[in-house]
Symmetry: C2
Subunit: 221 residues, 2 copies
């Protein structure tokens, strides 16, 4: 598996990501990917045990597009940078992003992003024992939001608001009725994403303050 030329392997992954970007993840078949670079589907089995392994490689390749945060950034700017990068990668390869949740994050590029989040949370002053939890919490939200945006979980739902409420007996949906005016208003997704991130950064800052308090309590006046 690993003996074969790495350049050929990379060529296959690039072709697969290209097919996914052009025609969606459903069009990524062993035959189609191989044909794109003048091979037959059976040739790919020299480089990947099966299609799942190829899909894992596609995820790694996609995440490799995430740029490292500039070195001068503080912890808040670092997290904001990574969040923005994940979102922009998601827009570049919409149909690939859902795979992020379906498969374990083991590619080198995924581990790099996790490591940068670890560092940022430590610099924020979060107790080390709490850092992995916060990393999972924040990355779960970031990836989930990215998928929701590109797969239409948000937008189609809100476009559909009028018919959605007509569909059911209104007395069964008191929440929707009370919020009627706000549900029909268009949403500024960029602003919402920033607001959500700000809330997360506040949670991190609050956690750090609590931890500092426990470790080195300051006398109350």
């Amino acid at each position: 598996m690993r003996k074969l030329k790495d350049s050929r392997r990379a060529e296959i992954v690039d072709a697969a990501l290209f097919v996914a970007a052009e025609q969606g993840i459903k069009a990524v078949s062993m035959r189609a990917v191989a044909a794109r670079i003048g091979l037959t589907s059976m040739a790919l089995y020299g480089y990947f045990r099966n299609k799942d392994e190829l899909l894992d490689a596609i995820i790694g390749r996609m995440l490799a597009d995430i740029s490292r945060p500039a070195s001068g950034l503080d912890w808040r700017e670092t997290i904001r940078h990574l969040a923005a990068e994940v979102r922009s990668v998601a827009r570049r390869y919409p149909s690939v992003v859902p795979l992020l949740f379906t498969r374990p994050a083991v590619s080198p590029s995924a581990i790099m992003v996790i490591d940068l989040l670890f560092e940022a949370l430590l610099r924020a002053g979060v107790e080390p024992a709490q850092v992995p939890r916060m990393e999972r919490m924040i990355s779960t939200f970031i990836i989930g939001y990215a998928i929701s945006e590109v797969s239409g979980r948000f937008s189609e739902g809100s476009l559909d608001t009028r018919s959605r409420r007509a569909q059911l007996r209104p007395d069964l949906l008191p929440g929707h009725r009370l919020l009627a005016e706000h549900l029909d208003a268009p949403v500024d997704w960029d602003a919402e994403y920033q607001a959500d991130l700000d809330d997360f950064l506040d949670v991190v800052a609050g956690l750090a303050a609590r931890d500092r308090g426990h470790r080195a309590p300051i006398a109350e006046p």
Copy 2:
């Protein structure tokens, strides 16, 4: 599409969910589902335009397993109840849950859950204009966490920690190195989920306090 007997339609959806629970979502083919109830694949096209529509119906059927919160619960308990229900449904139908993010939430059962969240956030005192954002933020996390748990994004990643770090030059992963002891420790996922939810409830409470402050400012002493 809608003229055909509803009971037959429900029978098909039940069969599909059964196949998914037993053999995974990949085994849910039109032929397999139809065969389970003594039909041919082509019969299903009288009830669903295509396979995607059947998958949407499966999601709706799965979410219908979520129980309504008891009427006496306060807003925190309501959100905790819904979060626990989503997680337990995810464990019941692991391979179906990833579809939640891939397709819009338009089924009646999905809308019911959203409505209950709307109500809880309003009762918490969140400004109505902020309620839809908070609903999306919290449900994105809840669904994302459920998928991550059942699809192994978390567990395989952390089981693999040792080899993961060996795999890369350690000087490139300063975050992992600083957290070494905490990355090898086993994780109590129930406790982590509760801690994450508590953080979200704090965000909601903080937002509500801020909004109350704006609407009816209290004179400072």
